[in-house]
């Protein structure tokens, strides 16, 4: 058992929106996109260990079981059966929270895997110079997912067998009503912000793509109608993420030059606090990522995002807004440069 049996939960759809967005955001890199996603797994482990959710063991098998137990305790998977016969490993996931997303992504020919449990294990194996190469997979009528791997070098690792299972035939129950323990949500969200910090400020572009993917998920999977008016769209997002349990209240104050957001009982606050304490500039709050996507589509760029964590899981965010279509006058600036 892990030490993080969830006392508080959040709707899985809140997390699913960013997991879907993350897979779509790195799809353009092909299989290299999985290497980027596996970095999220490193961040998940980092958070779990720092928070004491998963104990660090010298024995890799014991540690890997600890990661599985953490996600089990948080309701992400009901059970994971593991067996090994020489170089062949067989895993069966029962009531796996990622199956609907896996199916949705595969049906769009996106073969990247953004399941947080898998990402954490991928990164752990990579750190131990071990790789698993998928050789076959299947989904039973009960919705159990079984996959077989061969133990290989990390560079030959793959999550997708040569002949992937036909996911279009899989009937999976939507995650709409499912919930996940807060520690698993926090760890995944931390991993998402932590993973790309090495790229500096430009990593925001990648996270912005995650936000666009999350919007696509909300529209296609949850049939969210986002009006053309960005103010109304932000209200829709606020309402969805509040109902999902991201915060009890998300209050917005929007003008043409800034957006101010006040979060009450904000379940992302522990992640935010840790990221800010550790000096990270990137954040991965699902509401904020999707809000940035809506604003970008409306022709605005967020120029400077400032966060303040208050007491009792309250937080405030302010971002400056600039209209992106503003012209850059090459001739005029060129003349100024000549005079400097």
């Amino acid at each position: 058992m892990s030490d993080a049996v969830a006392a508080e939960s959040i709707q899985l759809a809140v997390l699913d929106s960013v997991l879907y967005g993350a897979a779509k955001a790195f799809d353009y890199l092909g299989i290299r996109g999985q290497v980027m996603l596996d970095k999220v797994g490193e961040g998940i482990l980092e958070y779990c260990i720092k928070k004491g959710f998963v104990k660090r063991f010298d024995d890799p098998i014991q540690f890997a079981f600890g990661i599985v137990a953490f996600f089990k305790d948080n309701g992400y998977v009901a059970d994971v059966e593991f067996s090994q016969d020489g170089e062949i490993i067989t895993l069966t996931m029962r009531d796996w929270g990622y199956l609907p997303l896996l199916s949705k992504l595969r049906n769009q020919d996106c073969f990247l895997l953004s399941c947080p449990l898998c990402l954490a294990n991928n990164s752990f194996r990579r750190a131990n110079s071990v790789g698993w190469k998928a050789i076959n997979e299947r989904v039973t009528a009960d919705g159990d997912y079984t996959i077989q791997f061969r133990v290989v070098s990390p560079s030959a690792a793959s999550n997708v067998p040569r002949e992937p299972y036909n996911m279009s035939t899989v009937k999976v129950e939507s995650n709409r009503r499912k919930r996940i323990g807060l520690p698993a949500f926090e760890a995944t969200e931390y991993g998402l912000a932590w993973a790309f910090d090495y790229l500096g400020a430009q990593a925001q572009l990648l996270l912005d793509n995650v936000g666009s993917g999350a919007i696509e998920f909300l529209q296609s999977e949850l049939h969210m109608q986002l009006p053309k008016n960005h103010r109304k769209s932000l209200q829709e997002l606020s309402s969805f993420y509040t109902q999902g349990g991201l915060a009890d209240r998300i209050d917005l104050n929007l003008s043409d030059s800034k957006l101010e957001v006040a979060f009450t009982n904000y379940r992302y606050a522990p992640v935010l606090e840790r990221l800010l304490d550790e000096g990270y500039r990137l954040t991965s709050c699902p509401f904020t990522l999707t809000a940035r996507a809506v604003l970008r589509d409306a022709g605005y760029a967020a120029t400077d995002m400032q966060w303040m964590v208050l007491d009792n899981r309250r937080a405030e965010m302010k971002m400056g807004l600039r209209i992106t279509g503003q012209e850059f006058d090459e001739d005029k600036i060129g003349r100024i440069m000549d005079r400097v």
Partner: protein, 183 residues
């Protein structure tokens, strides 16, 4: 890994005098690629200007020194550190975070005009500019900068992280540069 980046840059620029390069960088290898690129330019040009829109000057100097790059011949134009007003220092200037394209151009010109020595310019990166500006404006900025680089007789590189098609500016920028190198 940074030696791979060094080799691919060196091979690509072999026959070019004062090359202006567009470096398209694999996000997985970003740090190594930047170090390899900088190693190439510092080995071939006496002075350099590093325009950072990604990481603060203080973080970069430490990282580059650790990677064995001589930073004493580098002047940093920092467009990421938050400062109340533009700051000029002997080894760096701070333009403030989220600097607009016009002020960035002026900041680079000032850095070039600090002395008459031969220099290179590295802009890190065009991708960051795409967070705050539309691709057309970024393309115009890059066009202007490469034109000035030729007039100033500076070599250098504009960096961009490999992006999806929606944010891809490479096709627009490639004609302004001597070479596009994928690192």
């Amino acid at each position: 890994m940074s030696s791979d980046a060094y080799t691919s840059v060196a091979e690509s620029l072999e026959d070019l005098e004062r090359p202006v390069l567009l470096a398209l960088i694999d996000p997985i290898r970003y740090q190594d690629a930047v170090v390899g690129l900088l190693r190439y330019f510092t080995a071939n040009v006496p002075q350099g200007i590093y325009v950072s829109l990604n990481k603060p000057f203080a973080v970069l100097t430490k990282a580059f020194s650790k990677a064995g790059i001589q930073t004493s011949n580098l002047f940093f134009v920092d467009g990421i550190t938050n400062v109340p007003a533009i700051e000029e220092n002997p080894d760096h200037s701070c333009l403030g975070s989220g600097v607009d394209l016009s002020n960035l151009c002026i900041g680079i010109s000032k850095a070039v005009n600090r002395n008459a020595d031969e220099k290179f310019i590295v802009l890190d990166s065009l991708s960051t500019l795409l967070i705050y500006n539309d691709p057309r404006a970024v393309a115009k900025f890059a066009h202007l900068l490469t034109e000035k680089m030729r007039r100033w007789n500076t070599s250098g590189s504009l960096l961009t992280v490999e992006m999806n098609a929606e944010r891809d500016v490479v096709s627009q920028l490639a004609p302004f540069c001597d070479k596009v190198v994928k690192i």
